[in-house]
């Protein structure tokens, strides 16, 4: 693949996010495929954060370690990247920002250029222009995007920022010879959209009919809450920041009881507090949709980093036994479609449904064709109650028609105690047994809707990689050139069915790739199929996998 990887680096509060935002749009609208992801510290000012932007002639969707161009936006912005800087890395910027770094340095006095135009603060615009020029992006697009970015500002400020960007552009163009890769453009890309994982989850929720969100802020899940809050008026959604996670989850169950479609978004530690209420959902047979964006634990851990360490947590969350569904989207498209689907599945089976993402997925974005909404539909499984309505009617498949209060002539009685068909508390042992079996039957039913894992790569594989959730695209790229290797990727991690074993047995070697320290999914596969995935590539530093490290490790074992 022909691609260029640009990294922006600076302190929290220096505006990397603005540069990232504008630059990715300029580049995409110039016809380049792009991918971007960030890593940042759990602080508001200072420290060191970076954003990686990959620009390519083909679709690009994964994190790489190599840095072709590094733009430090302040002092001490290159130290943490030491291991990723090679002799080929172009480091462009203020002399004082680049001086400590290795690589090929090109001094560009961004601050001075900005000041000349009117204000030091325009340095970020110069930088945006600089990169645009380097890649010969579309000038008009650059101007447009800068204008959009500052549209709330006075015309003079907008103009000066545009000038600054153009100054940068000029300097960039001059330097463009230093870039050895030449990228093709594709006009079709311009019509594509740029979305990050959080937005995809949010849009999926909207498409799933979500009209009630209650959550307590917690990185990295808050962005979904923010997305829905920003759009609440347009969609008539109730968005409530709860006093704690316990309230949030109980509210959502209350909301579903009254006929709303509710979502909580949280992270592992917040979810740990919701488990009693999850068990409540299991018992009262309430639908509920939970978006859990993973970060490294235990406890507070690394609040703004990524990990896949909470699979076991959600698999077994809550006391007692009741069924659940766990989706683990591998990319942005899946984040959208699975979140959408989660609402219908939750409603139909009256069970909790999880969307298990992580910081890497929610904070990454790439260009993709707009989702096709034509086949999407909010399937409401709610019924109008009759006089003789009973909430927990025993049925063949365990699913009872779900009524809501005030809709129809019946009363809707739900109970966290073991209950009879009416919903009244009972201590009758026979009823107890029937109700346990009723709830578990829904778990059996759910197996009929299981999403099969996807086999990617060489169908005649000797080595089979097994993965779930967000490493999908990284692995895909890593194995794109390796023969006899395939990836079996799970976007649904519970339930999974035994048929999986067939894939595994066909391989000479099976390797699990997971972003945790114990191989939770590999262990789950063994628990379900008895098949032991002995080799494991695990990462638990707080960072996502990179294409290079996986390629190396996989080549090492092939």
């Amino acid at each position: 693949m022909k691609d260029i990887c640009i990294v922006l680096s600076g302190e929290a509060g220096q505006g990397i996010q603005t540069v990232e935002y504008v630059l990715t749009r300029v580049l995409k609208n110039s016809g380049f495929h792009i991918f971007a992801t960030k890593e940042y510290m759990s602080r508001v000012r200072g420290g060191n954060n970076t954003t990686e932007i990959r620009i390519s002639s083909e679709r690009v969707r994964a994190f790489v370690e190599k840095i072709d161009i590094l733009i430090p936006l302040g002092k001490n912005a290159t130290g943490r990247l030491r291991d990723r800087i090679t002799r080929e890395t172009l480091i462009i910027g203020e002399e004082s920002f680049i001086k400590d770094a290795g690589g090929e340095k090109i001094e560009v006095p961004l601050l001075e250029m900005a000041e000349r135009i009117g204000n030091k603060l325009y340095a970020n615009s110069v930088a945006i222009g600089l990169v645009s020029g380097l890649l010969k992006a579309d000038r008009e697009t650059l101007k447009l995007q800068i204008r959009k970015q500052f549209e709330d500002k006075k015309e003079e400020v907008i103009k000066q920022n545009i000038d600054a960007a153009l100054e940068g552009y000029k300097r960039g163009e001059e330097l463009s010879g230093r870039i050895k890769v030449s990228l093709k453009r594709d006009d079709a890309v311009k019509k594509e959209c740029l979305l990050n994982g959080a937005e995809a989850v949010g849009l999926g929720a909207l498409a799933g009919g979500c009209n009630f969100v209650s959550s307590y802020p917690m990185s990295p899940s808050t962005s979904v809450l923010v997305f829905l809050a920003q759009n609440k008026s347009d969609f008539g959604i109730v968005v409530e920041q709860a006093e704690d996670e316990i309230a949030a989850m109980n509210m959502i169950i209350g909301a579903w009881y009254a006929g709303a479609r509710g979502l909580v978004t949280t992270s592992g530690g917040g979810f740990a507090l919701m488990e009693e209420a999850l068990s409540l959902a299991g018992m009262v047979e309430s639908p509920v949709v939970i978006h859990l964006a993973q970060r490294p634990g235990p406890a507070t851990g690394l609040p703004t980093r990524t990990e896949q360490g909470d699979l076991n947590l959600v698999l077994y969350a809550g006391h007692g036994e009741f069924p659940r569904v766990i989706y683990a989207p591998g990319n942005i498209e899946e984040a959208f479609y699975l979140t959408y689907k989660a609402f219908n599945v939750a409603d139909k089976y009256q069970v909790p449904v999880f969307i298990l993402t992580d910081q890497y997925l929610v904070d990454s974005f790439y260009n993709l064709p707009p989702f096709n909404l034509d086949d999407l539909k909010v399937e409401k499984h709610m019924v109008k109650t009759g006089e003789d309505y009973i909430r927990y009617k025993l049925t063949e498949n365990g699913i009872s028609p779900r009524g809501v209060p005030g809709y129809g002539d019946g009363l809707v009685k739900v109970d966290s105690d073991e209950h009879d068909e009416f919903g009244h508390i009972t201590e009758d042992f026979t009823t107890r047994v029937k109700m346990v079996e009723k709830r578990l039957k829904k778990g059996e039913e759910l197996k009929k809707e299981v999403l099969k894992p996807k086999l990617i790569g060489d169908e005649n594989y000797k080595v089979l990689l097994v993965a779930w959730g967000s490493p999908l695209e990284v692995i895909k790229e890593a194995i794109s050139d390796i023969k006899e290797v395939a990836l079996l990727h799970f976007s649904q991690v519970w339930p999974i069915d035994n048929s999986v074993a067939e894939y595994l047995k066909r391989a000479q070697k099976v390797i699990a790739i997971e972003g945790n320290a114990t191989g939770q999914f590999a262990n789950l596969i063994k628990a379900v199929t008895g098949f032991e995935v002995k080799e494991r590539i695990l990462k638990y530093s707080g960072l996502q996998f990179s294409v290079e490290e996986l390629r190396k490790k996989i080549e090492g074992v092939v």
Partner: protein, 282 residues
Amino acid sequence: MDFERYISKDIAWCPGCGNFGIRLALMKALEELKFDPRMVVIVSGIGQAAKMPQYIGVNMFNGLHGRALPVATAIKVANPNLLVIAESGDGCMYGEGGNHFIHTIRRNPDIVNIVHNNMVYGLTKGQASPTSVKGFKTPVQTDGVILEPFNPLAVAIALDASFVARTFIGDIEFTKEIIKEAIRHKGYALVDILQPCVSFNKLNTYEWYKENTYYLKDHDPSDKELAFKRATERGKLPLGILYVNHNKETFEELARKGDKRPLYEYEVNFEKIKEMINQKTL
């Protein structure tokens, strides 16, 4: 009686318990206000008090210990046409559920919050509750309670709750009237009902309550400082409506911007989603 329909027949309370009176007062209040049972929801937690909706023929959400209020708030905002009552014991509402108590008052949904205050944990057989008086001995508090009792009325007033009342179930008629007022009131309404637990609280008996309470007279419930004084003064406990603030908008009015349609009628605007996605191409 309509509210007797469709209930659990076997009432699990102890003979002589104040809970029976509360049930009566509540059912009468609903009857006299002519509520359609289908439009009433009682949300409760876990405890003896929390069994109430099992014995009244209205919609029921018998949830978790301590968690009635967030559930009730969500139901109310999801369908503002329902009468939503959150009802449970003192342990449930002020102990396990204390954080929701505080923040629900801040939210001010138009719900009625009935607390059966028997100053003890009934269902779990007699441990101290947040409102237990100092020195009250139990199998766990073997040397007697050493914590300051929780003063729900004072806290509610401090948080400017929109309606704060206390009654004693020795007077069912009065309790019924207070409940009716609470229902009629727009906004969060706390009704703390003093209720003897004949099995586990041998201290705060019917007699004790009679001797240790008085009816508020000539009290101006709009006077917050006075209300606070009444709620915190030593000596007898006041019965009646301590505090009312009529000038508060409710949570559901603000969160729904006046829209009263039940959320179950909501239809997704796919066109708008398309538009949003298209925005993301720019």
